[in-house]
Amino acid sequence: MVPQSWVLVFTAALFGLGLWGSLRATNAVRILMGIELMLNAINVNLVAFNRYLADQAGQGQVFALFVMTIAAAEAAVGLAIFVSLARSYKGINVDKINILKW
């Protein structure tokens, strides 16, 4: 079996990549992609921990399923917000969406 520390390093790197991407990007869809990467890192974490803990109830796997479902709902609402924004601002560059002071 792959050592647990490898998995932890991998998910931390994946999560960090997603966080860095979501903080640096100016296009809202790219930010959403960064968030999805972070959620993927979490799912790998949950499933891997479930395996290493030999959790018979499979709590980690079930949690990962719920995370996926919620991520889909979140993306749906997020994209709807982007569409509504694109109508009034002619684009979804977050640096240019600034009627309200940041």
Binding site: L8, F15, G18, L19, S22, L23, A28, I31, L32, G34, I35, M38, L39, A41, I42, N45, L46, A48, F49, Y52, L53, D55, Q59, G60, V62, F63, F66, V67, I70, A73, E74, V77, G78, A80, I81, F82, S84, L85, R87, S88, Y89, V94, I97, N98, I99, L100, K101, W102
Partner: protein
Amino acid sequence: MAVALHFLPELIVLAAALLVALLDLWLERSRQVLHWIALAGIALGLASLAPLALRGPAGAEALPVWAELWRTDGFALFFKALFLVSTGLVLLADRRFVEERRLPAGELYAMLLFATLGMIMMASSHNLMVIYIGLELVGITGYALSGLDKSDPRSSEAALKYFLLGAVSSSILLFGLSLVYGLTGSLTLEGIGRVFTVPEGGVGLAGMAVLLLLVGFGFKIAAVPFHMWVPDTYQGSPTPVTAFLSVGPKAAGFAALLSLFVTGLPQATSFWRPLLAGVAVLTMTLGNLAALSQTNLKRLMGYSSISHTGYVLAGLAVATPYGFRAMLFYLAAYAFVNLAAFAIIIAVGTQRQAHELADYRGLGQQNTFMAVALTIFFLSLIGIPPTAGFFGKLYLFGAAIEQGYVGLALVMVLNGVLSVPYYYAVIKEMFMGSPEPSAPPVTWPWGVEAAVIAGLVVALGLGLGSDPLLRAATAVVNAL
């Protein structure tokens, strides 16, 4: 049947939400029916708490199979009642606003009810997965609610900022939760509480997990330095949504934070306590300082709500039963007073779009009762006797002193003084200025009046006799 009793408030609110969403398709003309269904759902949900409340704090024992997943103890009932009442107050105050601004009423009411469902779920859940689902139900409906006014670009912008920061922060929170699961092998709070410790110095995965949880919850409850979304989202959202966001999701975040940290991470108290105290001091002070220079009332209330988050966090940082009791008292008093103040802001903002301080000029001449009521709410938010807010701050102060946190107590007092000028600026506009002749007159629907009177009863009633709520909070904390 006995089991269903423990889920009855959730089932009722869910049924009302689905009914509103469904009927919205047919009832295009008579949107008032939807409003009544939503209000009835909240009222029935509140009534369904009664049988459990009468059973006493031992209500949890009736659910042996679910004991580590779902609790209906005093803690859960206290927060469920608080959430249902606060959504009820928002619903009471918002009808005229929704009609005038042509907001999609069915969607607004259905999503308010779904968000309430998430909040009352969080109050009961003792399992990380259920807490997370509740949190996201509140979060996702919140993003949609703040962008509800599609004709107003500011509303979409508010939704964008809330959504992006909210989604990033719940990912951070979730990463922390996954680490906690990996470290303890359990998703139930009791199971985690038996095992979870942070080694000396706070290094390693356990310390990391607590930090990630703090960052995630910091966004949800709007604590500094994770508060950037608050002023913009509060200013841009439709005013009833702002009122809802300033109380409901924030109190729900505190409920989850309290049960997670007190039941799940008690062995790490010495690690998270100084962190929370630091965040509390920063949140109070920066919230108040930023509020001083605001001229838009919704933005001002945003910064004011940030500073109140700091006070409540101070109660958690003290981490004694006295601190938790003060925290519950403060949250309940804040919820009523803030929502009643928002009812007035909603009424004034129905005809006038801007929510600038100048819109409140001369309100004292036009409607003395409302101007005096808003003054009393602001006095309670500052913490001047004889109002509920005074006792809230007093109990927090006492809890901090009792635990030897003199510095924290001093910061609280100084912040009380610091918050006077910006509330006073509004009061001055209301009573000193004379109304501008061009401004349209403000109308006062009965719903707003009802919410304001409820707020007055709580603000002054608790100010004159704070015992009932304090006893309730003590019972809740003793059962924790």
